[in-house]
């Protein structure tokens, strides 16, 4: 059986989840692809972080070049997050002839054209299903089975932390500060929650959705973005009284040939499919000119859902390039 040699850049939550899937589900992956996935090197920076699955110390390195410039590596999986050095690592890996899989919405949203053009120039695959809505296969659907459509609108609950906070504020009638604190204690929100609660994370994901659906790169800084820090219990009550729910929505619509976009708390009718998406779940509501309305729903974060999407991209490359 052929072997795909994989290097993991990053070994935190998502790296651990990805390694666990490639190890634990190796047999089913081999059966479905005819190729063996073999992780040959892992970039690990923090020495003592907990993760889902540990790896043999012979696989670990602290030098990114042991992966990016390693002639043995076929596929580089970038899971370190942040715009730099992640973008440079991905570009260098592509230039060294490696396929790249990434979960890094910030880097892709900021440098979409650079990354996709470099992949094209060096004839390597660049896949990033995990960067939007975690385990939900929405990017693959937009660029695969839905491609006969002109897309009309994309609306999404793209951030699990804020959806969890809004759900608790609504269901348990609690104020924002209290729910945020609880979410931080449970690990659903970061110690510094700014990127989530200010809508920045959602804007990164919306930027990627716009690029794929409308073939237009809008830098996330150019997306009008309002987070949920201004939402009060009174707002939530008022919404409920008028039969609506408040959700943090990233939305892009085609109007007269122009794409309009924004991230903002939005009143949705209680019967709208997105209104029923609760807690940490994500969902993307897509309207195509032919297929009509679709919704994709599932877990937008977490080591295993995100790892599932990453491994789906690895499988895609194994099927098409090995």
């Amino acid at each position: 059986m052929k072997t795909a040699k994989i290097g993991l850049l990053g070994f935190g939550n998502v790296g651990g989840g990805t390694y666990k899937i490639l190890t634990q589900n190796k047999k089913i992956i081999e059966k479905r692809t005819g190729v063996t996935p073999e992780v040959i090197k892992i970039l690990k920076r923090s020495k003592n972080k907990k993760r889902l699955m540990d790896a043999d110390s012979s696989l670990l390195t602290e030098d990114p070049d042991d992966i990016i410039q390693n002639p043995e590596v076929d596929i580089v999986v970038e899971m370190i997050g942040g715009i730099e050095p992640a973008t440079s690592f991905m570009v260098q890996a592509m230039k060294a002839g490696k396929h790249v899989v990434s979960a890094n919405k910030a880097a892709i949203a900021a440098n979409y054209r650079l990354l996709t053009n470099t992949a094209k120039e060096y004839n390597v695959e660049f896949l990033y299903e995990a960067s939007v809505a975690g385990g939900i296969p929405v990017l693959s659907s937009l660029t695969g089975p839905l491609e006969a459509n002109n897309f009309v609108e994309i609306m999404g609950i793209l951030n699990g932390t804020t959806n969890y906070i809004l759900t608790k504020m609504t269901d348990e009638n609690l104020p924002y500060d209290e729910v945020l604190k609880e979410a931080q204690e449970k690990g659903f929100a970061e110690a510094d929650p700014t990127a989530d609660v200010e809508g920045i994370d959602a804007a990164n994901k919306l930027s990627i959705l716009i690029a794929l659906a409308f073939d237009k790169h809008i830098h996330p800084d150019s997306i009008p973005t309002v987070g949920i820090t201004g939402i009060s219990s009174d707002d939530i009550k008022a919404a409920e009284e008028s039969g609506k729910k408040i959700k943090l929505i990233g939305k892009a619509s085609l109007r007269d040939g122009m794409v309009e976009y924004m991230v903002a708390p939005t009143l949705l009718d209680k019967n709208h499919p997105l209104a029923g998406v609760s807690n940490e779940f994500n969902a993307v509501y897509v309207t195509g000119d032919m297929v009509g309305e679709l919704m994709f729903y599932g877990r937008g974060a977490g080591p295993l859902p995100t790892g599932s999407a990453i491994c789906g991209d690895i499988i895609n490359i194994m099927k098409n390039r090995f």
Copy 2:
């Protein structure tokens, strides 16, 4: 630009929808694939049926061999429905070296191994996204971005007619017979509704989902199937009073290494994502060992949603084989 020459077997509702998409969205398809889709022949049997889009009479034929045995045709799209002669047509087309796209759940569920094995033997593509849940890209997701998962359970609202009837019975408190009659008048139910209301259509789709998720072909006749004809207004009321909804569910679960399956009216908790799927909409709820729970929601029937899935398959072939 390269050209993919397409023959359409069937020119009813779905055939008309598919032809409309290939014509109206030709530019976007060319841009996304680098290949021109060209319909060169259409099998039309009923002379005067209304459809979404008419075709030049030079394209029409009443002889299936003008498509199946036509050396010019690259891709045969089978949309005539029923088990035979559709299965024979597909097998003959594959043996003549043509890729086959089909929307025909009855033929695929009955002859899954014959059709997939013939495609493999003759090294042609055989794709059938439209056969389950119409425009919703669930089959492509199971066999693509979700392939790193062992599937644990698949549950679906797979038939729009019965979901429409149950929704009306629930929301408007009407008896089965009255709602069925109204659905027939509106075109949401066939004059002979047996295949829908007895669960046969859902069993066909469940058979295909089982084949893809669990690599096991269960003939639909072997799936325990109960339809909705026995559901009374009292049943619906009793369900509502206990905080539940009745939905016709096709379900397959892995338990101790065995796949269990059935189609039956099922009580769902009101908070289950499938409980919110109303009217003629379909949805498939998938649980994978890594990704957790996902739901795919959208239009399960209709010329354009079904045509969207068919054209997605055509695009897949154009990208991989041209």
